[in-house]
């Protein structure tokens, strides 16, 4: 094949591929690239930074590949220099050992900064709220220790308030992911991990289980609905007055493998979350990991401060 045909074919294919992706992408929602809260924004900043930094290496590689293949083809009459014994150049090697190291140094610093920053509430001047999340087969249970209500497969939060999600599982390991608010964290049986998220504005954000848990896994989607604080309070009151209570038997029912719709509960058994963590192995963990007592997660919002769980 002639080089010209080769090049034109490659051009053709890149154009088609790119165009297809672009066109079809238009009707979709790039939720990760469109964050609605400070956590998601910080993560997006890193995504952009890492893309730009890696392009510093990729673009020269692509250009050089293109030029070298075109210029040094083995064809009659090629006047380009041919040096079969040339095999070493210290300066060049120092450049391409050095530049990636610098890039990774820069990226490393920002990674470290953000990693530590995200273990704290995204804003310091607003009192946070705690929500306990339990992944079940194949549904999500949300408990509000401050409000004493519970929901299944949807969770409402006040906008502009940092939310401390405390995560565990009473089923296989899953992962709790709300892309537009920022990131995910595994739900591990016997452990209680924390994930800080915050929505800046009211809205409905898609969430999902990200780690495979068997047959009903594909249906483990939920919505995070952010509301102004007053609407949130009204919603809590509404649930308290209208929804049924979650009993121990009711919880047992929820743990059975099944796919369910959204549910609301006006109350739940005292210490349910802590009991779930403990029975799944939390009792064997040293203090800082699990072995949760009811008084470790009081209703007040500084719940996790003393516990250092997970993070």
């Amino acid at each position: 094949m002639k080089l010209r045909t080769l090049l034109s074919r490659m051009k053709w294919f890149f154009t088609v591929a790119l165009a297809t992706v672009m066109l079809t992408g238009c009707n979709g929602q790039f939720v990760v690239l469109d964050p609605k809260g400070p956590v998601g924004k910080q993560e997006l900043d890193l995504i952009i930074l890492s893309t730009v930094l890696t392009l510093i290496v990729i673009i020269p590689v692509l250009i050089m590949l293109w030029i070298f293949v075109a210029k040094y083809r083995d064809k009659p009459g090629n006047k380009a220099p041919y040096k079969p014994e040339w095999e070493d150049n210290k300066t060049l090697e120092i450049i391409w050992w050095g530049i990636p190291i610098v890039i990774i140094g820069i990226l490393g610093v920002y990674t470290a900064k953000t990693t530590f920053a995200l273990t704290k509430p995204p804003v310091q001047n607003v009192a946070p709220i705690t929500i306990q999340v339990t992944s079940l087969d194949w549904k999500w249970l949300f408990q509000y220790p401050g409000q004493k209500i519970a929901t299944v497969n949807y969770v409402e939060i006040p906008a502009g308030v940092p939310v401390n999600f405390v995560l565990t599982s009473d089923a296989p390991v899953n992962s709790f992911w709300v892309p537009q608010l920022g990131g995910q964290e595994y739900t591990m049986p016997g452990m209680a991990l924390t994930l800080w998220l915050q929505a800046d504005k009211p809205g409905s954000y898609l969430g999902m289980g990200a780690n495979f848990t068997g047959e009903g896994f594909a249906h483990m989607r939920f919505h995070v609905i952010a509301k102004p604080q007053s609407d949130f309070n009204a919603w809590v009151n509404h649930v308290k007055q209208t929804a049924p209570a979650l009993t121990k038997a009711g919880y047992q029912n929820l743990t059975q493998p099944s796919v369910t719709d959204q549910m609301s509960f006006s109350s739940y058994p005292d210490g349910l979350f802590e009991a779930t963590v403990n029975k799944n192995g939390g009792i064997y963990m040293p203090m800082q990991q699990g072995n949760m007592k009811k008084e470790d997660t009081p209703a007040d919002n500084n719940a996790m401060k003393n516990m250092k769980m997970g993070q």
Binding site: M1, L6, F13, A17, V21, T24, G25, G28, Q29, F30, V32, E43, I47, S50, T51, V57, V61, L65, F68, V69, Y72, R73, D74, N78, Y82, K83, P84, W86, D88, E93, P100, I104, G108, T111, T115, L118, T119, P172, V173, S175, G183, Q184, E185, Y186, L193, L206, M208, G209, A210, N211, F212, T213, G214, E215, F217, A218, N280, G281, G310, Q311
Partner: protein
Amino acid sequence: MLESIKTFASHFFVTGDPMIYGADASIVLVTVAILFVLTYFKKWRWLWDEWLTTVDHKKIGIMYALAAILMLFRGGVDALLMRTQLAFPNMHFLQAEHYNQIFTTHGTIMILFMAMPLMFAFFNIVVPLQIGARDVAYPYLNAVSFWLFFFGAMLLNLSFVIGGSPDAGWVSYPPLSELAFDKGPGENFYLLSISISGIGSLATGINFMVTILKMRAPGMKLMDMPLFTWSILATCIIIIFAFPVLTIALALLFIDRLAGAHFFTMLHGGNPMMFINLFWMWGHPEVYIVVLPAFGIYSEVVSTFAKKRIFGYKSMVASMMLISIISYFTWTHHFFTMGSGADVNTFFAISTMAIGVPTGVKVFNWLFTMYRGRIRLTLPMLWTIAFVPCFAIGGATGVMLAVAPADYQYHNSYFLIAHFHQVLIGGVVFGYFAGLYYWWPKMFGHVLNEKLGRWSFWFWNIGFYVCFMPQYALGFMGMTRRLYTYPHGLGWSSLNLVSTIGAFMMGIGFLFQGAQILHGIKFGKRDTTGDPWDGRTLEWSLPSPAPHYNFATIPQIKGRDAWWTMKEEMKQPGYKKEPVHIEPIHMPKSSGRPFIMSVFFFIAGFGLTFDWIWMGVIGAIGVGITLLARSFEYDTDYYVPVDEIERTEAALGRL
């Protein structure tokens, strides 16, 4: 009585799906066809003498390659089934259960029963020839390794029609893979088949490390070794440290399931996270196990087809050794989001990014090997050129994934899926294809058809980008992996359709390669020179295919690119060919025991899969007896007489 037989049969045979019945029928038909052909053409003796009992590294290599290509087909069909199911929202092509089985076997087969054996094929076919050796250090062990892999792979494939396939994902995280959530025998098939073949992998790692360190031709210093051999040495180092970890992790999980222990359960102090640690302590180095040999192949191919010495040899060696070390500091990035804490995450984020440095260095060195060279765009070189952009993008997304906070968004999403397919297909599969085309003449004595190969190349390459670029976008749209279905209205539909089209294009590319192989057998241009590419390393100094003793006389090595230097010497005016002095050659004898022993491993594995302890015991006794028999055998080698060597060499036109 009848009722209990019925119950047993329904538990034992997988039923209820036309695809399964199709597979049943095709398995029976293919088996009958093979038996018929072997009997009709009276090939049983030939099969046993020439293949099943062989300890010749070249034949073992060919068997590895053939098995791997078959497994590539099986894993590829799995991929197409999955992509078909995902082509449209709310598809009803596969049920959840079936889909879960398919993605589990796809991952398991592609990594452990396709990439690994294809890699071992190159170990076997190339390494002894490149270093001027007559066989590997432990030829008998080499046969054991192959048959353990083979019967391990068969055990896993059997699960499709008998008992049911594993369905907990190829990573098989507990507690999902524990008895409480996964009753069926499928998970046992997974654990036992990988364990059996894993013993073989570990043995191969030891075997080739010793071969490279102890069996190089006189004069070949470590820093004279071809880069492919260097890459194998680096790989062996990783294998030796990584595979025991996997074996232990799987054994503990199996003890949980079989004996009711609680290593990884949620009860009685078991900790599922420990399995995840162990799994990835093998699993991430495993990525470098399969990609380092590909790096070796690219190095050979680039230097041969740019007609130039490799640029920055020392850098290349150093970067491979660095990779083999840094690969052990990357496992935690698989669970940044499992609550390890900011300090641990930061450490593993930076150590994971760091592995991009030596990898990037290699890319630049390959580029500058082309610089001021004379590039021939043969099939191996085309695949190598295609690898560079693909792997550069894959490497970049790898660095992006290593940024721990950003990983909170990518983890378990299609972004991740796109990334690892890009490095595994763009890095490993492209490399192994380049290697297959490059060494095919050495394996079979003929060159493959170029035209069919180019069709395949373009289908694979265009198909790859059409398939996986949309998946990066899907990741940004919040699509998670292992979904068997998704609803309308999330904006995922059209990208998924495009991705499926790409997958089928790669499938067509594979068909062209199949056609190419068949065409090659019948019409392939015979390679009479032994050096069809004007090669640089020792394997090209031999006839294609090489005689079973490889070198009639062991060459004396004077530096890097040994064969190239010899050819240059021969071109000098006044060059006189030294008279060949042939001596009897010491060779290992064939043995049927590796095959028989592996059959017993298979029997034990099959029994334990169904908790039939008696069958497990029978298998274990068989293994013990074959091991014992070997230790009492003294007649394991022989000398090839001089006149036989002379006859062979004369027939090859070498005297």
